[in-house]
Symmetry: C2
Subunit: 569 residues, 2 copies
């Protein structure tokens, strides 16, 4: 492509709305332009990157035996009512009415539509398994769209859905998709980690997320450096302490603790170890009654885990100040199990503590030396907290570390959640109707572009991998492309690289050399050849990889071979 | 592709909702499946066809210098309010509110968004011309979605938009797009005709439609068999009769004409030539006053032309029965210019008539022998009617014929309609701000598939061109693919064709040979090789083009060369 026949639009400064490096760089490099909150146009430069991601995803899906189709973006409400998600999904579902006042939504996902197709198309076990995918524009009306295409409202997703006669077949396809996803992210040149994950609103049983590792990631991942164990912190299990609970050694003592609303204030006031404190959180049970949850003072409640405790209202709902006052006779900050007659659930770590400090259910008072079984009843025990670095890994092979990631893929074993709700059955060999097992598999195609940049940039701009770059090679003719010798050399290299099937950009714009060089670095073109009159007189041009500190002089008649070798061609 | 790894789902009978052959065949061949009114899933077989169309469109757009981008499908109302189309567009625009109750629409077209991009990106004449396109899912909430993907609510469109410093540059790009469209439709193997067209709600000046000729087409095209002239009947000019108006020769006579509400009844009752009658239609003027339009009894009002008459309310609005009664003192069926004091517009043909029969503005009465200038004032004259076969062609080189077509492409010279409304200017060489000239260019990508089938099918199914077929070659192994010899021959041919880059389907399904043969014909695969044990014993296989009446025996070791020759490879 000649730049003069393309559209390059770079900016010196990113608009102030952009926070993340990837968002700033995508705007500055002209990959995207904002239309409205959470809505972005993919400009020609960005669309080339998006299409490269899309093609790699398509190739690997095809290779793994998934068959491409395309379902409507606009979906009738009836199907979502059948699955129960019309009410469940909340405001993220962009709802609308057509001219006949019938309800529709702009699909954020397609479980309902594909299940409708499967129940109409599949008669017999002989047709199973099936695995379909599509690459499509989706819409999710985010509460707070941000970070450009990282969390936009409209986005491009590859979503695949598989149908099976039995769970074993589902597990096989799930593994095939898992493997295909690994190949996709490897080919894209991303540093990523598959992690065990919660299934969230999609439902089902097993699930893995594919996380691109980046400091700016919104997800926290717990992993074991000495084993393959990795899980989203939402899911990562905090094991019970290996040591049993010590016997009580202190006596229960009520102390005045004024102005100690937080654990930090309490610890400072009493001058004690935070690990001796227990904090109390009150949530609603299924029946609306308050349930007291206890965590060690330095631990954080894991809401996903808390929600999974039997008898707890979903979505997790914190008790109101009035309800707390009625049930405990005190305000938050002074709550505890001593004297509380309701349900108490203690985190595993708390359950192993003795002589702890806890609210006294009287404003501005705490107990020292509290103990289960002596000062209050033994509590129910559950895993309620986020893991922290140094926790024993659930794999039993080391201690956990934490890192941050950006979720770019997610595979789910849906089992029969949708086939049951929507009556998607098949005839077995024995002539019986059975529910189909289902899996679903998503890749955030547009988000991958932002995640890749988040993982790979420097002060000069984006650093794209060869497989994702809008152009793999950039040719920069110095001096406005006006010198006949430079023009001839640039045109010849351009023609040769095109003939070799390389995506090459010849920057023939009438701009200062400094602008051309800066743009090629900002856009993140991985390989660059600079051709100038001075070098040509000595038979030289300059090659520089985007990550090289300096350019390398290369004989002009060897530069084609040099570049092709760099590309592995 | 092996059929066992693909998804083939054919039907013996089309669902009763399908009327057009293309709709029936697309359902029967499993190209599409209905989700809801006007919403269709593209099944794997259909998506392959769609992608082939899309790729040819993309290649020709790129070749013509248009640059691909991708704008959001969901668009903010503000832009449509700026252009004035938020109110104008009516119910076809699918409107919605996001979680913050802000207005959006699912875009049926993208003039507003691209103009917003251009006004932000373009500073100087040096950046012009620009030509962008996208291939995208669009939504139009049709009053009456029908004919499958021919007139669906959700559809895939290629829309391009160009920006220019002056009209000459627009005309140049318009011609480039026109030429690119011709190449697209030629490559797709379609019989088509570019026709002059009305610009409709898109606005602007010049415009051509690309019509695929088919008896079932919704559009009527007037063309001159002896010249390149062709126009949509909405636009085709009806010339004034070459003969001047004869002098009056009859006297005005009022006659009782009971129960003659229609021209047909009048002609029968009076036993006269329909060409001696004039019919009266009353529409509203800009000021709401009734305007009488006169057409010869056998001619049809052309609403597009009527709407263009100065001072007529747009959209064209017929006067209410009450307003007619007040203005004329009679009901429709007995109206005329004699004694009517309001505005009268006569079609050119009517203006050349003498001694005509017309309503007497008294229920159940008509005048015989009416004449302009004698019995009533001379009327305004305008082209108000649809052309009919035999009319003189506006090109002056013959008489018009009519045919039917399916609109698959449309190019428009928008001029400054949007740049003016939205303030899209550029700086001229002289430092002045000028409005950009604009063009827009659409291709109905998904509709093309239906149009192609409408033009090419037989009683056995679809007949696809090589360039559009989901698979170019089908290999049908007889006898359930169980014979070792058949399997070996089929596998070898499959591998050779794949190696030659041919899209080949090896139908290895466990189905009766009759099913495989019928499916390949229904789906419309253009080239088929049937391999059976009996033939192989004599070293023969069978080749048949989809349009061949019979199969041709070909030596098994020559079939690869035979097929490649048929494909022009």
């Amino acid at each position: 492509m000649r730049a003069s026949q393309f559209f390059i639009s770079t900016l010196k400064e990113a608009p102030s709305e952009a926070e993340l490096p990837s968002h700033k760089l995508m705007l500055r490099a002209g990959l995207i332009r904002r239309l409205s909150s959470g809505l972005y146009s993919w400009m020609p430069m960005g669309l080339r990157v998006l299409k490269k991601v899309e093609n790699i995803v398509r190739e690997e899906m095809n290779r793994a035996g998934s068959v491409e189709l395309l379902m409507p973006a606009v979906q009738p409400a009836e199907l979502w009512q059948e699955s129960g998600r019309w009410d469940f999904y909340g405001k993220e579902l962009l709802r609308l009415k057509d001219r006949h006042e019938r309800d529709f939504c702009v699909g954020p996902t397609h479980e309902e539509v594909i299940t409708d197709i499967a129940r109409k198309e599949v008669k017999s076990y002989k047709q199973l398994p099936l695995n379909f995918y599509q690459i499509q524009t989706k819409f999710r009306d985010e509460v707070r769209p941000r970070f450009g295409v990282m969390r936009s409202r409209e986005f491009i997703m590859k979503d695949a859905y598989s149908f099976h006669a039995d769970f074993d077949s589902l597990k096989q396809t799930y593994q095939d998709m898992y493997d295909a996803y690994c190949r996709v992210f490897e080919r894209l040149g991303l540093t990523f980690r598959p992690v065990a994950a919660d299934t969230g609103s999609i439902g089902g049983t097993g699930s893995h997320e594919f996380q691109v590792l980046a400091d700016s990631g919104e997800d926290v991942i717990a992993f074991c450096p000495t084993s393959p164990y990795a899980a989203n912190i939402e899911l990562a299990e905090a094991l019970a302490p290996s040591e049993p609970r010590p016997a009580p050694s202190a006596k229960l003592e009520k102390v005045l603790t004024p102005k100690t609303k937080t654990i930090a204030q309490l610890v400072e006031f009493l001058n004690i170890d935070v690990k001796a404190t227990v904090k109390a959180i009150v949530v609603e049970g299924d029946d609306g009654a308050p349930v007291l949850m206890l965590l060690r003072g330095d631990h954080e409640l894991n809401e996903v885990k808390a929600e999974k405790v039997a008898g707890i209202k979903t979505p997790l709902t914190f008790a109101s100040p009035d309800a707390i006052r009625t049930a405990f006779g005190a305000q938050p900050g002074s709550l505890g199990p001593v004297g509380f007659a309701g349900r108490v659930v203690a985190d595993r770590t708390v359950a192993a503590m003795a002589d702890f400090v806890i609210g006294a259910n009287e404003d501005d008072y705490h107990y020292l030396g509290a103990n289960f079984g002596r000062d209050c009843a033994e509590a129910e025990v559950a895993d309620l907290r986020n893991v922290v670095p140094g926790d024993a890994s659930p794999c039993g092979q080391g201690v956990l570390e934490l890192c941050r990631g950006i979720e770019v893929g997610h595979v789910f074993q849906l089992r029969t959640k949708y086939s049951e709700a929507m009556g998607a059955t098949y005839l077995t060999r024995d002539g019986k109707h059975e529910l189909m097992e289902m899996g679903c598999y998503g890749i955030g195609v547009s988000r991958i572009v932002a995640a890749a940049i988040e993982q790979s940039f420097d002060e000069r701009g984006i650093i794209f991998s060869d497989t994702m770059a809008p152009f793999t090679v950039g040719i920069v003719p110095m001096g406005y492309y006006r010198s006949e010798a430079v023009k001839a050399a640039a045109d010849a290299l351009y023609a040769d690289l095109k003939a070799a099937g390389v995506d090459v950009l010849l920057d023939d714009r009438e701009e200062r050399p400094g602008v051309l060089l800066a743009d090629s670095e900002l856009i993140g073109i991985p390989h660059r050849v600079v051709i100038g009159d001075r070098g040509l007189k000595e038979g030289k041009v300059e090659y520089q990889h985007r990550t090289d500190a300096e350019a390398t002089p290369v004989a002009a008649d060897e530069v084609l071979a040099h570049v092709l070798a760099k590309l592995g061609l």
